[in-house]
């Protein structure tokens, strides 16, 4: 296992240090201001053009955002999303034919409650960002993460996608838009968000309890990402936005790809790291900063005075790289990038070649989607798979082999009872129902088993939680609803002609 087919050091290129008075490689006139890659130096003006072009090209190439569409920018206050906000502002101030044609809004989710920041710190951050947002003139929303506790169950249900607008109609719509009205900036709004949102202490406590019920930082970070994502989608839905714009930079996405891969999210990689993500059906997330490296973002922000904040996150105070899978991956990629400058772009290019596994078409079938990440379940796999192998290992480590009749095992050919977890759960439940009144313990509220409703990776997250009782009510009630549907289907299964999958 030590063969290497290629030589890697070749890709390093010769990293010669440019002299101070070097000219820009683009215009060959102005003095260079930034070194993007070894040897590639740009002057200020050319760098700005290059940076803006990449942003617009990413949007233009993908043709996902239609003219006049309402787009919600998710701004975390960090360098990349603030740079994205700046790009949108820039794009709207352009002359008519170059102008971006969508209606932007901004949402900031204050995660201070989950991270353990004080009320004062949180208010200070919110006030700073409020000033930035006000200056844009866009509609903006500042929302504390605590609001996730009151979301409706519909958040974790993938809505039916609106009739797909064909790529071919894109051009016609643009033309139409250009002729009818070219004003994208909505009428001056009366922002009723002058006052910063107040958070009840009890809500913060509940949120903290939830975070603490995750025993590992890996699970806690996953949980936080999930909750944030749910709240973002909810905000977009209730405020009439159809697109969500996320500020993930290329570096961020490379880390995310490797993290997702390490967390068992292979089937979901395309959605986790691709340009657009349609797992929620009606709300499409897009990542227009995916061509910008973290380094470029920092240069741009520095040269063009883009305000951004340093906001502590869950792993900020962790001293060790081994605090979580996410943290470990980030430091791995960062260190490798220093030695092999093509690391990030190579990983990132992989994400462009992947697609969402097409096991079940997106028919809006709820039972087949993960309760937490809303991706298609990847747990109904062959017997010969890592997932089944893990189940077998767990089973074998807990059952005494002398008691197992060896010949029976042999005859059984080692297959677990059922290949699908969902089916396992349902039959177990149905078994309990069968004995009806005779066994009363079956009616006692047993701790809910979420596993059958989750994808492989989200099962790992839940496994790392001491209890699920602190999960927000919308998740638990949706879980109950799905379990009930599952039981019902089990009961009527013999009368269903098809596989009976329409929900």
């Amino acid at each position: 296992m030590c063969q290497a087919e290629e030589e890697y050091s070749d890709e390093l290129g010769s990293a010669h240090v440019p002299s101070v008075s070097k000219k820009c490689v683009k215009c060959k006139e102005a003095t260079a201001a930034v070194v993007i890659r070894a040897g590639d130096v740009y002057c200020r003006a050319c760098f700005k053009e290059y940076y803006i072009h990449k942003f617009r090209a990413t949007l233009g190439k993908n043709r996902v955002i239609f003219p006049g569409e309402k787009v919600l920018l998710a701004v975390s206050g960090g360098p990349s999303s603030c740079s994205m906000l700046h790009q949108v502002q820039e794009g709207l101030s352009q002359s008519v034919h170059k102008k971006l044609r969508f209606l932007p809004g901004i949402v900031y989710i204050d995660e201070g409650g989950a991270v353990g920041r004080s009320v004062e710190e949180r208010l200070r951050t919110m006030a700073e960002l409020q000033a930035v947002f006000k200056a844009t003139g866009f509609q903006f929303y500042i929302v504390p993460l605590e609001e996730v506790l009151d979301l409706p169950g519909s958040v974790v249900v993938s809505a039916l996608a609106p009739p797909e607008r064909a790529n071919s109609t894109y051009k016609a719509e643009v033309d139409h838009f250009m002729h009818s009205n070219c004003s994208t900036r909505s009428a001056p709004q009366d922002q009723d968000h002058e006052a910063l949102p107040e958070v009840q202490e009890s809500a913060t406590q509940m949120l903290q309890q939830l975070m603490l019920s995750a025993k590992t930082l890996t699970a806690r970070q996953n949980l936080l990402n999930t909750l944030r994502q749910h709240l973002l989608v909810h905000m977009a839905r209730t405020r009439g936005y159809s697109k969500l714009m996320l500020g993930d930079s290329r570096t961020r996405l490379a880390v995310k790809l490797l993290t997702s891969l390490s967390l068992g999210r292979g089937a979901q990689l395309a959605q986790d790291t691709g340009f657009s993500d349609s797992r929620y059906g009606d709300i499409i997330s897009v990542r227009p900063m995916r061509d910008h490296s973290a380094k470029e973002v920092f240069y741009y922000n520095h040269l063009f005075h883009v305000t951004f904040l340093f906001i502590p996150s869950l792993d900020t105070k962790q001293m060790t790289d081994k605090a979580s899978v996410q943290r470990l991956t980030e430091s791995f990629v960062t260190k490798l990038q220093e030695e092999f400058p093509s690391t990030v772009s190579t990983i990132y290019r992989t994400s462009e070649k992947l697609q969402t596994a097409g096991r079940c078409s997106s028919t809006g079938d709820q039972c087949e989607r993960c309760l937490l990440c809303l991706c298609t379940l990847d747990t109904a796999v062959d017997d010969a798979s890592a997932f089944q192998a893990t189940l077998i290992s767990e089973q074998l480590s807990q059952t005494a082999w002398p008691r197992v009749d060896r010949s029976k095992v042999a005859k059984h050919q080692g297959k677990p009872e059922s290949t699908s977890f969902t089916a396992q759960y349902c039959s177990a439940k149905a078994g309990a129902q069968d004995c009806g009144g005779c066994c009363s313990f079956a009616k006692e509220p047993e701790p809910m088993d979420l596993r059958s409703l989750l994808c492989y990776s989200c099962q790992l997250t839940i496994r790392d939680m001491s209890s699920i009782e602190h999960l927000p009510p919308y998740i638990l009630s949706e879980a109950q609803r799905r379990h009930r549907r599952c039981e019902m289907r089990e009961e009527i299964s013999e009368f269903l002609l098809d596989s009976g999958k329409d929900d």
């Binding site: 390490s262 068992g264 292979g266 492989y456």
Partner: protein, 343 residues
Amino acid sequence: MPVLCNSCAEKRAVLKRPKTGHSLCKECFFWAFEEEVHQTIVAAKLFKPGESVGIAASGGKDSTVLAHVMKLLNERYKYGLELTLLSVDEGITGYRDDSLETVKRNQQQYELPLKIVSYEELYGWTMDAIVKQVGLKNNCTFCGVFRRQALDRGAIMLKVDKICTGHNADDVAETVLMNVLRGDIARLRRCTAISTASEGDGVVPRCKPLKYAYEKEIVLYAYFKKLDYFSTECIYSPNAYRGYARTFLKDLESVRPSSIMDIIHSGENLSVKEGVRMPVQGTCSRCGYISSQPLCKSCVLLEGLNRGLPKLGIGKHHRFHEKILSQQPFTEKEEKKLKSVEF
């Protein structure tokens, strides 16, 4: 207070399973480990009754455990397989000659026939001679490419239907990571497959019965079974870049022990976009072995060695293939580039 075995709840547990975290006694661990390999073999339908199977044996822990478990399961579950040990002698003094002694002992302990094929007889070059010409930098490329073909050639000499290799879960997960880091989408897609389909003449189907076995558990199994294996790293330094992936994987495992299986699960569920260009499998116009290029990698490497231009097969030099085939001479400039760097 001694911890009781999670499985039988009678005996004292002697180990904590790296894979699941359960505490087990020796017997229950053996049973679980063997049973898991058996279930992998059955679920993936790796063998058919009556087949002859070559076990790629290096004398290291993985292949020693593989040979032991294959023999044991073949008897316990009556697979009806005819097993043979197949070893490759790369010609590395102080490493392979010693490990081959282990294989020879294994042969007697397990009463299995053994076939050894050597680089010297197949290619006319030992690794020692190659390293003398190439240096320590890219020698792993030669060794890896030659071994792949050597195993096939050995298997054909033995007339076996299949080869099984000792690749474990850590190896597979590491390869997934490597292929992501190198952006090799074609390999990424196929590297988690448990067996290769029969790809044509000269290629014997391969499988990895230990695909879901953790490296740490293989060591535990060998340790408690007191298996005789050889545990020295190759004297020609291991590939540095793969070392990064390996360290990362070990770190991941320490953060979350299921990471190894999680990465394999990821690899098994990846879906590559249609329209992404993949290399097309063809055959080498010189030796007839499978190749995506006019010449297979080992022919190019061999050509480089024989011409004294060792860098010919390192990196992508597809444009040279035509020249080699039509026996045109290289220009002076090209020759200079392909010579090994003098230190």
